[in-house]
């Protein structure tokens, strides 16, 4: 039986206009990831890694080609429909965490569920469960500025998984952390994603982190040049 494809990019190109200059960020990218799979995208700065994440994450639209998320072609969707896809199907973890500074760790994890319209009791149980799984039960009522970088990223991972999205996107989730905290966060992200059968697509510069993925895609000048399966 063929595994369920959660995200797929078909012949995707993306061109940005910077004043008079046109920059081709992606030049015909093809990739897919199935349910529960962890895919790492590696490559030098400006190679198009984050552009792939933006397109797969319904934050942007391709210039040509198709982006399919959870069975829906999102390439030409309106901003309103893209918002619904982000709400229902995608969780994000960013390099700089992007936690809401006035909310506690618990409230930050609860927020995507609130936006997705999940009921109060379910939100409460899920937020506590996730904070426990990332080892922050005793820090749940602390605000982001009272947490270390590693703790904030663990909150961000819990937030990304809170509404049980089929697709989790992580943009350099350990980029702002020391190697020990980074490895800890990556292990938590991988274990949770495997447990919840979420697909993770992450951008990273760190080979050690990438080694925790099931597959590594190497990108250069807007094209995937190498694909490595990790056994």
């Amino acid at each position: 039986m063929q595994a369920e494809i959660v995200v797929e990019l078909i012949n995707v190109t993306k061109t940005y206009r910077l004043g008079e200059v046109q920059v081709q960020a992606l030049r015909g990218v093809n990739m897919k990831a199935s349910r529960g799979q962890i895919v790492a995208i590696m490559g030098p700065s400006g190679s198009g890694k984050s552009t792939i994440l933006n397109l797969a994450g319904a934050l942007d639209r391709p210039t040509s080609g198709k982006v399919i998320v959870d069975g829906k072609d999102i390439s030409r969707m309106s901003e309103g429909r893209l918002g619904q896809i982000r709400r229902d199907s995608i969780g994000y973890s960013f390099q700089f965490y992007n936690l809401i500074p006035v909310l506690t760790a618990y409230e930050n994890v609860e927020l995507p569920m609130l936006i997705a319209g999940i009921g109060g009791e379910e939100r409460h149980e899920r937020a506590h469960e996730l904070l426990g799984l990332v080892g922050l039960s005793d820090r749940s009522h602390h605000r982001p500025d009272e947490l270390s970088g590693g703790e904030q990223q663990r909150v961000a991972v819990a937030r990304a998984l809170s509404k049980r999205p089929p697709l989790v996107l992580a943009d350099e989730p350990t980029g702002d952390l020391d190697s020990k905290s980074g490895m800890q966060v990556m292990t938590i992200l991988r274990d949770l994603a495997k447990k919840e059968l979420s697909t993770v697509v992450m951008v990273t510069h760190d080979h050690q982190n990438a080694s925790l993925a099931d597959r590594i895609l190497e990108i250069r000048d807007g094209m995937i040049i190498k694909e490595t399966e990790i056994i």
């Binding site: 994450g57 918002g83 709400r87 960013f94 700089f96 992007n98 943009d171």
Partner: protein, 206 residues
């Protein structure tokens, strides 16, 4: 009124003195029968005694019109102050909310990345501005009532007993005005909030 009295026209004539003599009375109140026409009587007195006694005739209607006119002019000044306050409040709310939206671009971007719709982002900013407007309204009403009470007390010390009445209608109208001002002031900042570039604000720190 303790220095005045009502007298008949016949008695009045004994108190009138030609303009070159020292008068024995300065002001005469003329009470007419209900059926009499004020204008005709006024003209007749003016014709008979006006020139020789240097009279200035004022009817109750003239007096009321004059008083109302003065009060009207007084309140026009207040209305101008109120309108200027509304314009500056609208500008103030717009500037405050633009600053708020600018400072929270990252948070707004985060909310949108989690799928919050533009309509909800718009309402979120709008709600904050309306809340600000309502806080200003409550402070304004309380301060206004204290000021009104102070003015009436001050006037009573000069012998003018003006009653302290709470202007409920104006207070209700001010509530609508506060909400309308907040909504007008926040419309542009709210639209700006929905146009935050997600990719830009989420990627970088600070």
């Amino acid at each position: 009124m303790s220095q005045a009295g009502f007298v008949s026209l016949r008695t009045t004539s004994t108190y009138f003195v030609p303009s070159n003599q020292v008068p024995r009375a300065y002001i005469f109140y003329v009470k007419l029968r209900q059926s009499s026409d004020t204008g005709i009587v006024k003209n007749e007195i003016q014709e008979r005694y006006g020139e020789s006694y240097d009279l200035q005739m004022i009817t109750i209607d003239d007096l009321m019109a004059e008083v109302n006119n003065n009060i009207g002019q007084f309140f026009v000044v207040f209305d101008i102050i109120v309108y200027m306050a509304i314009i500056s409040a609208t500008g103030g709310i717009a500037a405050t909310m633009l600053m708020t939206v600018n400072e929270r671009r990252r948070e707004i971007g985060m909310l949108r990345s989690q799928g919050m719709s533009n309509a909800k982002i718009f309402l979120l900013v709008l709600a904050e501005a309306v809340f600000l407007g309502l806080v200003g309204y409550v402070v304004g009403v309380v301060a206004g009532l204290f000021l009104l009470r102070g003015v009436t007390l001050l006037m009573s010390t000069t012998g003018l007993n003006v009653p302290f009445l709470v202007p409920w209608e104006r207070i209700q109208f001010a509530l609508l005005l506060a909400i309308a001002t907040a909504i007008i002031g926040v419309t542009y900042p709210s639209l700006r909030a929905t146009r935050v570039n997600l990719i830009e604000v989420l990627r970088y720190r600070g």
